[in-house]
Symmetry: C2
Subunit: 345 residues, 2 copies
């Protein structure tokens, strides 16, 4: 959490005030809580959280908490404010208009890129939390494969529930809705876990814990029954396409290069890899750094991101292997569960 | 789901196109799914969902599904479009600017109020789904009080987990993060359920199931141990302050009147009732109708809403009783769990 650095940036840029409005993940970032409703006002010297009385105030250094009242607009208004920072990709038009009314002479400036960049390079405290979230996630997976039995686990939901119970019992929450796809459901990357019966073939998992508001993200493909030679080949190819880009991780390398390496290894199967190779992870499950061509981002010290190639044969099956990694001079895999194809009986 | 009615409104108002962008709950409303990312374009005659390839397309009548691609902006652009409807309270400034670039000659018009109003009065299908969600919620509560034992339930999280498991096993999801507050935690209306040990005194629950994307919302206060006479009095007073406004529910009555009735019954304790009496429930846990003074809303046929007074003594304890109700000529309580104070041992 880099409030001081952010405030220095405001000072340098002559931004009088930054206005963050629920639901903006930057509020979670700066307050280390998930309020049900809040505004966060940051100036070069102060940070004030306007919080509903329904929530428990956080105890964060240098953050003052003000009870949110109907007259917050009057209180927040200040005619000296000339330059207001906003998060353009989150603030709604309704609040932009409210701000323009409150500060008719101020100029609105997008600070989302600055915040994204700041958040992408994690602090030691954030690294510790994400490492812990990844460790809980890996343990949940390991426990699942140890305890799996076709008697106890009959549906996709049974598998999801086992993982989620494990996560919750380890003082964490879910980072996002757990994906468990059996058989042809595994071919839909964002399959909605349901009451489908587990069947022979690939079983795709994609899940993560959130520890003290910091996320982890891991995918593994399991197999129920006996895989065919072709299925094994596809899995092994994907495995290589996941480990090779990790080997290529070095400082300042463009993320698009990692993507190219993975696709090169997938060869003719790369047309079945229908999403990007990865994304940053933090208080949001998807945050900076971005792997997109347009973003032109490169690997920096203390970036935390995923590497997750997949192959999806529509209507048949899909496989995806995903780790969350820290770059601290070299690539360090935080989700340590085994990546050999696990055969379940 | 009232796509046809909404399209008639567009026709009447001369709105060429409505642009809804993730995450807008109206997308859930019209598609009956929760996409990971999507745009929904509605004209007086058509409805097109631009969906990521990672999601499974929904099968909804009169809705065509288009694969979301990088060139969606070109495809969606149409110089004949002069009047575009947007949801001002959800669309981000970044997307407003994108729209203005795509349609430089079009006027943007806020259609959020129309959508709120449309959604507030539920269809038979929606009533059925919410009734089912409420029934699962009530059953979960009833099962908890039957199975409660201080040996099995040691922490707030144990209680939450029991309720959530029940909900999930009944083909539903959580409508929102379950609130379980024991002892002084019950005094924080939006307490974050944690590993706090259950202690003697009030145990506040606030939870709900979401069945096929439709929510339910229920709160109950339990007591562990033997309540004092004062505690019993507070509970009974609250009970009256919850049932009396329900008795007063009639067509066209302003929601603020229900609020007044509840506060009148709370008497000197009404200053400890720090939130509004209720809110509408649908695909969102909080949606129209609004109980606020400003909204000036009145009870209409097929409104579904909560009645939930609370008394919170900061640092001591809090109690809240909440039901989800349907108005179909008279008030019908959908969350049928008992409201007498349940004493747990």
């Amino acid at each position: 959490m880099k409030l001081k650095q952010f405030q220095s940036h405001l000072q340098k840029e002559g931004i009088d005030l930054v206005f963050l409005i629920h639901p903006d993940s930057n509020i979670i970032y700066f307050t280390q809580m998930k309020p049900s409703f809040a505004f966060l006002l940051i100036t070069p010297d102060t940070a004030s959280l306007y919080l509903s009385k329904l929530d428990m105030p956080p105890s964060v250094k240098n953050l003052s908490v003000i009870s949110l009242r109907k007259d917050w607009e009057k209180k927040a208004s200040d005619p000296k404010v000339k330059k207001i920072g906003i998060n353009k990709s989150s603030i709604s038009l309704a609040y932009v208009e409210k701000l323009q009314k409150m500060y008719p002479h101020a100029k609105l400036i997008d600070i989302s890129l600055t915040l994204n960049e700041l958040r992408a390079q994690k602090t030691p405290d954030e690294i510790q939390k994400i490492t812990k979230a990844c460790s809980i996630t890996s343990q949940a997976f390991n426990s699942l494969i140890n305890k799996f039995s076709s008697k106890k686990f009959k549906t996709e939901r049974d598998v999801a529930f086992f993982l989620e119970k494990f996560i919750r019992e380890h003082d964490a929450e879910l980072a996002f809705p757990t994906i468990v796809g059996s058989g042809k459901n595994s071919a839909v990357p964002h399959h909605v876990t349901g009451s489908s019966k587990l069947q022979k073939g690939f079983l795709q998992l994609d899940f993560g814990a959130s520890y003290k508001n910091y996320c982890s993200d891991m995918s593994r493909s399991l197999y129920i029954g006996k895989p065919t030679a072709a299925e094994k080949d596809h899995y092994n190819l994907l495995h290589t396409a996941q480990t090779e880009p990790i080997k290529a991780v070095t400082l300042n390398k463009p993320f698009t290069e990692l993507d190219k390496i993975s696709r090169k290894h997938l060869g003719k199967y790369s047309s079945y890899f229908i999403h990007s190779l990865g994304h940053g992870v933090g208080v949001e499950i998807h945050e900076a750094p971005s792997f997109s061509e347009e973003a032109k981002q490169t690997i920096k010290q203390n970036h935390i991101f995923t590497i997750e190639p997949g192959i999806y044969f529509p209507g048949k099956y899909g496989i995806r292997i995903e780790d969350t990694l820290l770059f601290d001079g070299k690539a360090k895999i935080l989700t340590t569960s085994p990546k050999e194809l696990v055969i379940l009986k």
